[in-house]
Symmetry: none
Subunit: 415 residues, 2 copies
């Protein structure tokens, strides 16, 4: 199926917002075997959007429109598409309930323009919005098919993955199915991974192997094209074992929506273990990352943010002499932070983070120098010295990911 | 002048690369008063690119092509454009010198395909590439004008700013310039803001007013089209004061790249005030948000993550009887958390966050119920009861933003 993606929004044409939606959708559609031939961005202008729809009808079977489903007058995508197809707009009952509940809970008055958000194309399949208010739609026409998605990525992504993708797979089944498996790696860069797997990647036919670099991790998507599930599984198993024979040391889990923190929290839960943290340069980012996981309270009672030298001493009781002598960017400080936190929080593990997020150096240590401590009940504390690169934000994220990986390996008795 | 931007590259259509070039160029062109009506991405396919050029000729006076100027077979943008216009390609002498010097310095042999990079359109104005090898071009046609730029942003950006922009200003002088000002709002939704400003937005001509919803905030971009800076400033000042007369209560700062946390950290620094936090449902996200700002250590010594009831008692010394009697999702708990943190961290302000991030309810309180405490040295503690919506992640982000706004208003003596 030939597809194209149309993003609607003057803010994109003014350079205020990057069109990451087109990138996200293209990656997902490519995985489904749907070929994307064009991306277009058009402003909040009905005539130009209609012109574009006429062109798209001639060249694509699936036309995905993103943005312009909101409550304001310049949100006109739905109206233009309805006129283009020649159908009316109808209110979506479930969306209306959600909208009313939203304003009731906020205890604020709903202005009438909000009702625009829950209108959808008559005879279209409404796509509920789990993370926002505007309802999406899949409309199957005689020749062309249309999908309407909201502009904010936090709404578009879950709506596509949870609603639109399963519907597309059901409504437009292919005899040869694509089955994918995603392997996730930490601690190896994309170029190294690709070099280590060069033979496999160069000779790939079925399954195909696609690496994607993400912040501080790399994923490999293996995709088999088969007629049945059993053959797909056999092909994927075979490829996976070849891959893990080469780079298994860095593999930490499966799945597109998985993450290192989820793997670690699951390991803690399965083994009935608990964790605290004392954070300096990460300033709470490690604990906030744990907090993303619902139910983490089972394994995480809380911890400390000791950003200054004074709070390292007062909150954790670290000897001021040690802090003066060794400096805060030191193995000794990381060790003391982790060991104090372990005792104070009465947990099985404690991670500590101390280092230089930048932009400037600290105590003569270069930006990116980070000591990460892992104290363990009844075992020797481990401290790693790391030299991360890029900017402040990336250094803090690298620290969080490395801490999670140290813990994962420790639970698995790998270190 | 009407313009459009065409990015050429199959990697963009596969979702492997984000089209940040279009965003960059759009922002720069908007500043020059050149209106961009379309962005398009097309793959490395001569027929589809030619089709697109025919369309672009009908709707745009300036057509900017990015990508596909390199040495490999799929770099075909220049050839397709030359055929489209009906001119030949010629070698650029300065580019050839630079190419030869590059390979001499690397002490490697130049393969013949590299010569493709220094070809340019006959009668076009070559654009030298300071950070790469491929030569760009500005071609002035009878009706349409074309600019060829390389795909890598590290080459495209300097070539546009240093070569293409001055040429455009010289070849197509304009009398009217666009000047923008961005106003940022917290505590008011996009639909409410637009309703409150309906008269202004409906009757806008010059300046124009464009609202944009971001997570937990709204920005308004006011753009004036004038011949000189003084008239632009007068128009923007007038519009701003009309806007602030209506929704000034929610205005917190200026600028595309600004944020509520930056405004708050600046206020703390300017007033020589310090801050700590005790976080339950946000689990460190508030403090991690502070940690994003370089130099925040001046005003933020650290704080607590008290996720469990036990750590609320042990880290902060909150009376267990209070926690049992009132529950952790309570005004009393938020008050006690903030007041304890203030004493322990010896700061001027302490924020506390306790509530229900979800997905499940807690202590009979609905998901989204969040108490935020603000303790202040020598003043009465304030606690707000909030009912946030959407998912776990959004509820936590809403809490962080509300806490920042409470602090901002308190510093400004607004509450």
């Amino acid at each position: 199926m030939k597809a194209e993606i149309i993003a609607v929004g003057t803010e994109l044409l003014l350079g205020q917002v990057v069109n990451t939606n087109a990138t996200f959708l293209s990656e997902k559609l490519a995985d489904m075997g749907i070929e994307v031939y064009f991306h277009t961005v058009v402003g909040d202008n009905p005539a130009r959007l209609e012109e574009l729809l006429q062109l798209a009808d001639q060249r694509s079977e699936l036309i995905i429109l993103c943005g312009g489903l909101g409550p304001t007058d310049d949100d006109l995508t739905k109206n233009v598409l309805a006129d283009h197809i020649g159908v009316s707009l109808v209110q979506n009952a479930a969306g209306l309930e959600a909208l009313k509940a939203f304003f009731a809970q906020r205890q604020t008055t709903m202005t009438p323009n909000n009702l625009r958000q829950i209108e959808t194309l008559k005879d279209g399949i409404p796509l509920p919005n789990r993370t926002g208010l505007a309802i999406g739609c899949l409309y199957k026409g005689k020749k062309n098919n249309y999908i309407l998605l909201p502009g904010p990525p936090s709404e578009l992504k879950p709506m596509f993955i949870e609603q639109a993708r399963p519907l597309l797979e059901k409504e437009f089944p292919t005899t040869e199915k694509l089955t994918s498996r995603v392997l996730r790696f930490f601690g190896i860069g994309e170029s190294k991974l690709v070099t280590d797997l060069a033979d496999m990647i160069e000779n790939q036919t079925n399954p195909t192997i696609a690496p994607y670099a993400k912040p501080n991790e790399v994923t490999l998507r293996i995709t088999a094209k088969t007629e049945d599930e059993a053959s797909a599984k056999a092909l994927l198993d075979q490829a996976e074992s070849e891959i893990l024979a080469k780079v298994g040391e860095f593999f930490y889990g499966y799945g597109e929506e998985n993450s290192l923190v989820e793997v670690v929290v699951d390991l803690l839960k399965e083994n009935n273990l608990s964790l605290t943290a004392a954070e300096s340069l990460t300033a709470g980012e490690f604990q906030a990352t744990l907090g993303k996981i619902a139910g983490v309270s089972e394994v995480f009672p809380g911890g400390f943010v000791t950003y200054s030298k004074a709070t390292k001493a007062s909150f954790l009781g670290i000897d001021s002499g040690l802090l003066e002598r060794e400096g805060v960017v030191s193995e000794a400080c990381a060790k003391a932070m982790a060991e104090s936190a372990l005792v104070l929080a009465k947990t099985d593990f404690a991670l500590s983070f101390t280092g230089v997020a930048g932009p400037d150096e600290l105590e003569g240590k270069a930006r990116g120098t980070v000591f990460i401590g892992l104290a363990q009940r009844g075992k020797t504390t481990i401290v790693t010295e790391n030299h991360f690169s890029r900017d402040r934000s990336y250094i803090r994220h690298s620290s969080v990911m490395k801490g999670l990986d140290m813990l994962r390996r420790s639970i698995l008795n790998k270190i």
